[in-house]
Symmetry: C3
Subunit: 673 residues, 3 copies
């Protein structure tokens, strides 16, 4: 099953009319029409409204909301509303509340407040989903099901402990296998009964927080268990829906590169992927792009929905800057360029109370249409209307892949040594950014992905190497492709046990290097890498060549002159394997990645235009759509790469003709027939 | 009822002879006489001494302490001693111990350790107050009652939960009203039973500490509840005292701008205000002055007592600098200048053990009179003796008011968005400081104050606008006065719900502006405001003029040229309304405030003498007393503004004659008859 | 009883073959032989292996490990393995798990996880020690007993509360005495029943963590109690061993200057001292040396074992740098120079899993002998073999003592005021460093030490002065010696009560100074001390001379010109007493200490050779062994001080001949006969 079929990009967002009287709804729909809004995400936090008590359901308001949407010709993404439990449930079943990392059972409050292992929660949530599906499965406004909301967090209660033990039995089979996997003989941890196993938290294996654990293997399995436990909640609700509605696509809104949940385990269970894009402050545009490409990679390149973004500002951060004029449009087209087939907002109308009242909204507290934000939203709505179905279902023709692995993320960042300062996402992003800024489309894929159609495969900080990945990477090189790995790759097996071979473990033969030792230094320390005219920091692996050649070397210290970057040409020499033994500055990463890409002709036509992002999607009819996105606050001019029509202006552009992009401007070039 | 009547400014402080043998008392009283000390605060932490068990009272030591004081001719401010419970009470009634923000029931320790909702605490504390009043009501040494000590903190136990629910019933009446006030439909929080409501803390609505809450409305009500719960303890003790002693004034020592308690709710219940002045390190002198003026404003301008200040150094801070020579005298006269009718120390003799042993004391561990600190204390005692009754009961003739509002403080600092970096007290202080340094006397008043006699009313960061305040501010302008409001004013109603009108809500008509959006940036980012030759930071509201005119504009960014400061002349134009849309640097605030003050002739004669503070009190006989305080480490010379006598030297000064103030020097000018 | 008698310096370290199959053991022993490793620390974390259930013991693996060691001719330091409890014990007796400072009972995890007051732990641990001793007391491989591992931490459970109360009864006798000692009248803490006393933690007397306490006296006693409680565990195991084995020396591995435990209380119960040396990152070499000298001082100068050091890198730190080439050898000889009679590693083979898998090891994951680290270890093994027994049992002939006092450490760092920024170890280290870099051998001794044979006694930051120490220091001066004390010396008695005399309390007569007040300032503030061409910071005591003369003065502020450093010549003037009233920079400390040392001819011959450390040991036959350690990364040349043989090269060196030390080079000069 795929995303809902729509005649154009669905446009709208989270809508909470239950907070308001119906006179306000009139104003809302008038403004929605004015803004080209056709899609409403409804019901996300309505549990306490639709089920005011254990045996009482009341769908009156929801009925009206959907009826009104239908009457206005709008479609609804209907949420099951199970992300925030109602007060009575928490009071009646205290075990529904989570027990936090500190071991404290919470009482009622906030949201995302349910224990995933609690039978009471599971039963009530599933029953609610069942009721909703029974009632609305055939509703004319229904476009998609939205289960729960931003699943996340973890629970450490006794119910979770029980569920964890059951999960471990399934995973490891025997205690001997578990003891071996977790290497429990270390620090006298040999378990003799499953009941002796406790969730890893501040009262058991952890100190100084979630990343400091005595047993990485236990913590790693708890991350996997938590992923599966929450997924179990999702699946139970989906099953309930499917009993009534076999056809409407079901999703939940993910959060891009969100560390707590391994979305690769979730992907098969989602009919389509949707996610909420709130990039960190001051992040370069590639940070959001990485999120898009990671999400697109979840289901093998299928388009996804942008379920949430803010029209203007966030509220939850210490400092919440305003989107500059044009920035919203740019970010929206960036999402589309990377595979979004819907672009929605949180939120359509600002709440009057509680913690998100200052979160940006299409309609502010005063209900005005003459604000800058509303005008930008409406203009964009008009533009998307004109775009119609052109981009829907289009695929990305990437020849570069980046292997992204939650297990490596968890294991690397909970490792004691060599350095707590290495952040998985930073390393991954540096390589992703280098490729993207050089103009390459990139698929961000799981370690199990078919690598057969890529010229370049990057595996930055692939700390854990599982299954036959090493062989599949060797195959990439064997057929002439290029594989790139870095420091802290190939360190551990699936249980976080060090390989009993030379570093980088199973990647060592391909890379043609051997690492016996590694230096680590504080953030402020830099090591020069003269051949790249750049610097490196954090971790410096000392490399011996066992087949590879040095491409760049360390410039100082007792390992001066030894390799910092190497290239191997395994077998007959057609393919290449690059190893980057240290955390190069972006400039150094750029140089390496551009060398790799250019070998395969993958540098984009605008690789030297700083600030201009390009991305290609192949429309359903096979026509390439080239997105040009100017992230700079100044206009820029580019020669058109092929004769094309700009889908946004309708203007025809001849090959070589200069195309001027406004500040934060966008063009979508469609090859002229 | 007012403060105790005394023939001169009471001078002395906290005295704990129960820690010592009576030989030490002899030394104490000899030194008190030498230092001009006439007032002793006694009994503050004596509960475990006076009541060693549930049914045992032992007033032997207290009897002796008071008898000795009386014999020496000293008066006593007698504490009920209920701020630190005795060990046996905590053991016998564990529920007396507080449950902290993290949800942990404490065991015995520290002080301020009682649950305000615990019947056992209330009963025992009230009984103790009753016993003390019964015993000492007619004691010749008794000057005032000092209930408890520095009330503060909060408790989150089940008893408090119960009491909170009862308080909410009284406040909101129905659950529907409460659900509406708290906007509970957001995040599925609709309560269907009062018992579902939990105190807002780390186990319920909060994350990342006390300022991060999912529901500002709940947290806000808990601040109000806590204020009332502790006030209930105070009132119960006061009632017990009044049963025996109808006449002696009763107080408790407040803490100036102390966020946890809304002292405006306390003020009616205090016979007179007293407070402990420990300004932050490196704060400008206006910071202490703001505390004094806020305290004076609690009871409509009535003089207050300075109950505690350190003679030399604090102990509780990471770094505890020493008061420079002269600084103690200067701070003491600053208190008097702002309305203090008593100046007392913590502490008269240093404790040998526990955490305050290094807190500055009049008498140190070695019991010496020949220390610098003792000599300064004694010289000041002599000076206050000479001053006699002149200043007692004098009032401040301010024509400038600053609206101070605990609700706004709480709501602003728990708000998600636009910026966690805005601190209420910093904004308030900036405007207060500007007015004070320009020579204006300022009344710091509650939002309910009668504004009828002020020329200038400032309402900086008045985030919450309640009742008819907007109309009363409009009336100020209507009669020709000036009103000043700032960014983050007029945002929410009494329940912390955003107004459904343009920002700044009810103040918008008066201000003649409309704000649709606002930018927020990190601390280090500055925005220029060219007309004021200054900079702004943190929050930048984007203002549309709806009647006002721009006084100053933003110098950069996409909102360059739009108004940063505006002035409106509503109605017939006699009055003015100023709106400052961003956090101007002090220099910018100074310029705005001086323009406002000068329009009303409120700039002081020494407005351009940096470092010299002036303050006026009108003595009981109507004579103005002009205090001149030189906060600079260098001498300064001023022309005398009117022919006067300096009360401290007795010297006559002709109008226009130069008056030299020593470094940290003080003069008190009394208009010559 | 002393350390084990061995024919050479034992060399080896922690070895965990139970984690591996026996094929790996073959590889291990082959590599041990190659590296000159003769000593294996075995069994440190084997409890869950040797006792898989309450009534089941299984020594099969341990038998094989010891048999193999014996067969290979290696000796074993056999651990009782009680530092990490097995899972079944934690499950069966939850009270065995610690309750942390936050008052939370832990569940199973990590290590060092046992409550020292738990009878179940005590009984099981002692029984295990008994079984082990019964089985291996006469094993040919047995060289020493290693009880537990790195004792540390604290527990705050109800069992500990009970034990604390019993300990307090023994210490204080009566509640009156306790109330007086703790000064409980302050803050109404008078206890009327022992049961009212609670352990001082976050739920009782503390706020902002372990160093912020309302009652220093309570916290201090809890540190002492914890020291004794853990010592009780050690003693119980030792007693069990002694029942089977009267002769084999028993130790536990200490941790140098480890704040939580007062090792002076432990010293009498250890047959010999051993410790684990992991100096802080970027610490100067004197920091490790201070650890060595402190450990040597525990048993009156007896040699100790270096039980652990890393061959290459730590893992537990945020950043784990690599030992530079030569650094391991240098650190090892530094240990020997300061009194180590064994040098061992953690760890011989790297663990595959859990949190220490990246901790440096002699044998890495790939099991190679051709790594840099293995080669350095092996070369050092060869060198130690050649050294033979020469250094074993040699003593240090220091004429300078430094008084080190855990009570002062605890009391100073939990003090409220004057400054939280003063760290005891930093002050102590500054004086120690100055003496060591000037070439003086230093004994680091307890306050009870016999001071009769020292020329110079330094007591930096000796905050607490107990017993007759002041008189014994006076005696040092009386016989012509020099005593040096500093700011924050002589402040409190053994209960942390301020002395009722002038500061520095009992040291005041000797120092000839009186301190009434003290300033404290933030880290970044500096005060000049012109006579020493240096600066001071943090705390500035204002000194009046009562016999002493000023040596240096403050250069600024209101106390400019008053003494910062003083010298007194009490009595007939033969001896001297120096008082340093502020935290001088190292340069200033160096100047003062060198003046003191030179008066007694204690400046070393290479005092001006920066980077060269010297240390002397007197061999059993009376011959001095002079260690020369070049801590610089460059070679250096020194004139030989006496005709000697270099024990490492065998080369004869004539007096005055230049000796070149390599970068990180070492020489051990043995006076030529």
């Amino acid at each position: 099953m795929t995303a809902p079929r729509t005649p154009k990009i669905p446009y709208g967002g989270d809508y909470n009319p239950e907070q308001w009287t119906e006179e306000v709804w009139d104003e809302d729909h008038r403004l929605f029409t004015e803004a080209g809004i056709d899609t409403l995400t409804v019901g996300v936090f309505t549990w306490s409204l639709t089920q005011p008590g254990p045996d009482t359901y009341d769908f009156t308001v929801l009925d009206r909301i959907l009826a009104r949407a239908a009457a206005e010709g709008r479609r609804v993404c209907l949420a099951t509303g199970t992300a925030a439990v109602p007060p009575w449930l928490a009071k009646r079943h205290p075990e529904v509340n989570r027990t936090d990392f500190e071991g404290r059972r919470h009482r009622y409050g906030q949201r995302h407040n349910f224990c995933p292992s609690s039978p009471a929660y599971r039963e009530h949530a599933t029953r609610l989903a069942d009721r909703l599906a029974g009632r609305y499965a055939r509703h004319p406004a229904l476009l998609a099901w939205h289960i729960n909301n931003e699943y996340g967090g973890a629970c450490y209660c006794d119910l979770c402990a029980e569920a964890f033990r059951a999960w471990l039995r399934r995973r490891h089979g025997t205690l001997d296998a578990l003891n071996d996997a977790w290497w429990t003989t270390f620090w006298s941890h040999r378990y003799t009964d499953w009941d002796q196993i406790e969730p890893p938290n501040a009262l058991t294996e952890h100190w100084r927080g979630p990343d400091h654990t005595a047993f990485q293997g236990i913590t790693l399995d708890y991350h996997r268990f938590t992923t599966d436990a929450l997924l179990g909640c999702f699946r139970a609700e989906k099953d309930a829906i499917r009993r009534h509605d076999p056809a409407t696509p079901v999703t939940t809104n993910l959060m891009g590169p969100y560390r707590p949940l391994d979305y690769h385990r979730w992907a098969p269970h989602l009919d389509f992927v949707s996610w909420d894009n709130y990039p960190p402050l001051d992040a370069p545009p590639t940070r959001a792009a990485l999120g898009h490409d990671l999400m697109r990679g979840l289901k093998d390149g299928a388009p996804f929905w942008l379920m949430e973004q803010t029209p203007s500002t966030t509220a939850c951060r210490d400092v919440n800057p305003l989107r500059r004029p044009g920035d919203l449009r740019l970010a929206t087209f960036q999402a589309i360029a990377h595979g979004a087939d819907a672009t929605l907002y949180f939120q359509l109308r600002a709440s009057r109370g509680a913690c998100e009242k200052y979160h940006g909204a299409v309609i502010g507290h005063a209900g005005r249409a003459d604000t800058r934000v509303f005008r930008e939203v409406a203009a964009l709505g008009e533009e998307l209307g004109r775009l119609g179905a052109t981009t829907l279902g289009a695929r990305t023709p990437a020849r570069t892949a980046l292997v992204f692995d939650w297990d490596s993320w968890w294991a690397l960042e909970t490792s004691d040594g060599p350095s707590r300062l290495v952040r998985y996402l930073d390393v991954v992003h540096a390589y992703y950014r280098a490729a993207r800024e050089a103009g390459a489309d990139v698929d961000v894929v799981p370690h199990t992905a078919d690598l057969g159609h890529y010229d370049v495969v990057m595996a930055p900080a692939l700390y854990m190497v599982k299954g036959d990945l090493a062989h599949r990477l060797e195959a990439v090189a064997a057929r002439g492709g290029t594989v790139l790995a870095t420091f802290l790759s190939g360190r551990v097996d699936e249980h976080d046990r060090a390989f009993r071979t030379d570093v980088p473990g199973p990647l060592a033969p391909l890379m043609g290097v051997r690492v016996d030792e590694w230096d680590a230094r504080p953030e402020e320390f830099t090591q020069s890498v003269p051949e790249l005219e750049t610097e490196a920091r954090l971790v410096f692996e000392i490399v011996r060549l066992t087949g590879a050649e040095a491409v760049a070397t360390y410039g100082a210290d007792f390992y001066a002159g030894t390799p910092a970057v190497t290239r191997n040409r395994p077998g007959d020499g057609a393919g290449e394997a690059w190893y980057v033994a240290t955390a190069l500055d972006q400039r150094g990463v750029d140089r390496i990645v551009r060398r790799v890409l250019s070998r395969h002709g993958l540098l984009g036509p605008y690789a030297d235009h700083r600030g201009v992002e390009t991305a290609t999607r192949i429309a359903a009819d096979g026509t390439p759509l080239l997105f040009l996105l100017n992230h700079a606050p100044a206009p820029t001019s580019l020669p058109v790469a092929f004769t094309a029509a700009d889908l946004l202006t309708g203007r025809r552009l001849e090959r070589g003709e200069p195309l001027t992009l406004d500040p934060y401007g966008v063009a979508v070039l469609h090859a002229a027939q």
